[in-house]
């Protein structure tokens, strides 16, 4: 690569330089500004990590706000968290951990150039991702159904059984924390949360922001895995080139890590 003024292809191979855009000495996937495939892969991986660090800082801000307010209102946190659906949260944790395994195995399959296994594993990952969002969506709709005065989302849709006591845990004007629980704690902290009709709102605000942003990342992750499946089916990945699967997998694992912290912080509070 000493002489850059002449056509690169003519340096590598005498003829057919225009037809292969100078990729004659190596595979098509190696870009001209990299010297080796290894260097290209390391650059791509590092770039992805730089992005992942910014993602961690984004969620870090939310965790920061969580820390500040949980430190101030531990009693409110303990009562508010009991109204979240812990079994579904635990199930979602398992779903995400399994999906992380399938992604890790998919990256392994891509490295070994096993196309069918790669497509199958990416497919399973997407099914698990959709399952996670389905369960999360059900949890959300349960909270909204309570605001509408129904026991479950199904009852809401079919105008079924009404909710016994008034409860609305979606932050906003209609927010009502069930009166039977923890009035004393609420009164004790009322004056330190100006502008809020109920201090419990703070917990649910952080819950909806954190899990909502996480769900948005799941949607992005799903489209990335979908794209990777499409590319895999078209035979883009070989045993010498599977970098997109590798860095797409990094993104998926990051989403998993965020949930690993969200789960105990919101669902497992005493």
């Amino acid at each position: 690569m000493a002489t850059t003024t002449t056509t690169q292809g003519s340096e590598v191979q005498g003829h057919g330089a225009h037809a292969d855009h100078g990729h004659a000495g190596h595979g098509r996937e190696l870009q001209h500004h990299f010297e080796t495939a290894q260097q290209q892969k390391e650059a791509a991986t590092l770039g992805m990590w730089v992005f992942l660090v910014t993602e961690l800082m984004l969620f870090g801000g939310i965790f920061m706000a969580y820390t500040v307010y949980r430190w101030a209102f531990p009693d409110i946190w303990a009562e508010a968290a009991h109204h979240l659906n812990t079994p579904l949260g635990a199930l979602n944790t398992v779903v995400l951990l399994v999906s992380s395994l399938t992604v890790a195995l998919a990256v392994n399959a891509a490295e070994e150039g096993r196309k069918q296994r790669l497509i199958r594993l990416l497919g399973v990952t997407m099914v698990l991702g959709v399952a996670f969002l389905g369960i999360k969506g059900y949890e959300y709709s349960e909270k909204f159904a309570h605001c509408a005065g129904y026991e479950t989302p199904i009852a809401w849709a079919t105008s079924g059984a009404p909710l016994g006591e008034t409860e609305c845990l979606v932050p906003g004007r209609a927010f009502v924390f069930p009166a039977a629980h923890g009035e004393a704690a609420a009164d004790a902290h009322h004056e330190v949360t100006p502008g809020q009709s109920s201090p419990y709102q703070l917990f649910y605000l952080l819950y909806f922001i954190a899990t909502g942003l996480h769900a948005v990342h799941m949607l992005i992750g799903l489209s990335i895995v979908g794209m990777l499946t499409f590319m895999a089916a078209r035979g883009v990945f070989t045993s010498v080139y599977s970098t997109p699967v590798e860095i797409g997998g990094l993104y998926w694992h990051l989403i998993d890590i965020i949930w690993v912290f969200l789960f105990p912080l919101f669902y497992l509070v005493h």
Binding site: Q39, V53, W71, A78, H253, H270
Partner: protein
């Protein structure tokens, strides 16, 4: 030399280290074992929460246990699933930098809150 000069300073001419980084490989068995460990930790964190429901232990301790387990899971995922074990030094540095950045964020912000008398029950906020 030319192969690694841009991304791996310091390992030039060090055949063993260079080989380790560029051809490192994590086998499927390791992935299954890491997954099993993650599931055990997941059961542990729910189990600890369940037991804490019957016990009178300081709240801070419960949070510390949950965060310790979550951190262990994170380390396993980053080290094995995210291939930090076999990544080059610069990538490892970036992964570590994320947590150093988070530590700075938490230490400075919480330090400021404590200096101003947080939680507010111990006095009004300035």
């Amino acid at each position: 030399m030319a192969e690694h000069s841009n991304t791996m300073p310091g390992t030039d001419g060090h055949a063993a280290a260079s080989d380790h980084h560029s051809h490192g490989h994590i086998g499927r068995d390791t992935y299954y074992r890491v997954f099993a460990a993650l599931m055990v930790l997941m059961v542990l964190t729910v189990g600890a929460w369940w037991i804490e429901g019957f016990m009178e232990i300081p709240r801070v301790l419960g949070v510390l246990i949950a965060m310790a387990i979550a951190s262990s899971k994170t380390v396993l995922i980053i080290y094995y699933f995210m291939h930090i074990k076999i990544s080059n030094r610069v990538t490892q540095l970036y992964a570590a930098a994320a947590f150093i950045g988070l530590a700075i964020l938490f230490i400075i912000v919480m330090g400021d809150y404590f200096a101003r008398g947080w939680p507010p029950s111990s006095g009004p906020l300035p």
